[in-house]
Amino acid sequence: MTVAQGIFYLIAALAVAGGLGVVLARNTVYAALFLILALLAVAGIYILLASEFLALVQVLIYAGAITVLLLFALMLTRVGDLEETMVGAQWPLAVVASILLVGLLITTIATSDWPGDADGMITRIPFETLGEALFRQWAVPFEIASLVLLIALVGAIVLARDEEGDVEEAE
């Protein structure tokens, strides 16, 4: 076993531990914190695969922003008070469904004939290539992305202001 493999197993174990923590933690806030661990470990796997940009996105957006959103969503709603939403009567069915899904995914990944160099050596795509593609070839989609973000921002403000108005009227 090489050093890289050792590091991979360490990171993979952390990711699995984080995932188990998300599912098993009684407190939903702890579950969200475990999610950060799992997402950071996945970022480590991206680094091992020489995908630095993906790792950056994973850390900044998923482990940072998405988890913050999730935490706020948990704190704003009453999900923590409702025990049955966490552990329902259907959990054995959920376990069976998850195991089937995992088995299906693993067999699909293992038996698929991947195109290109997906099962060979890792090729590193440097930031420069990515930037060239993003700012030369995909300039219009890049600008459209800013519009999508703008719409999300305005939509969130409109919805939240309405909500707030309702609360104030109710009071």
């Binding site: 969503a73 704003l76 930037g131 030369r136 890049f142 600008e143 992305a145 703008l150 999300a152 921002l153």
Partner: protein, 122 residues
């Protein structure tokens, strides 16, 4: 490939040492500090009275959610700045104006939020 991974050995070391530092501090305080737990100690403090409702939950104001959304939007913007920063010299003027337009559109969003009073705490 090998060079890339060598660069991240420091990150890995920092991560492992950070875990050990925090973990040893938590375990050390657990071992050394006097620790006792009782029902009264676990309840929320409510001015000498027994709390009214059993599960105590502090309500978070919805305005925090807007700050989280704003943070998310500008986080996404920041991610695009990284590949831009390393390539805008080679791509030239076009890349500069593309990013100016990108930031201007999101700046418009920020201006809208400002005008709507999202940034103010009333």
């Amino acid at each position: 490939m090998q060079v890339l991974l060598d660069n991240y050995v420091a990150v890995l070391l920092a991560g492992v040492i950070g875990f050990i530092l925090v973990g040893s501090a938590l375990i050390g305080s657990r071992l050394l500090a006097p620790y006792s737990s009782s029902r009264q100690k676990e309840t929320s403090y409510e001015c000498g009275m027994v709390p009214a409702a059993a599960p105590i939950r502090s309500q978070i104001h919805i305005r925090y959610y807007l700050f989280a959304i704003l943070f998310l939007i500008f986080d996404v913007e920041a991610v695009f700045l990284f590949p831009w920063a390393v390539t805008f010299l080679s791509v030239g003027k076009a890349a500069f104006y593309e990013m100016v337009l990108f930031i201007a559109v999101l700046g418009g969003g920020l201006a809208y939020a400002w005008k709507k009073g999202v940034l103010q705490w009333k």
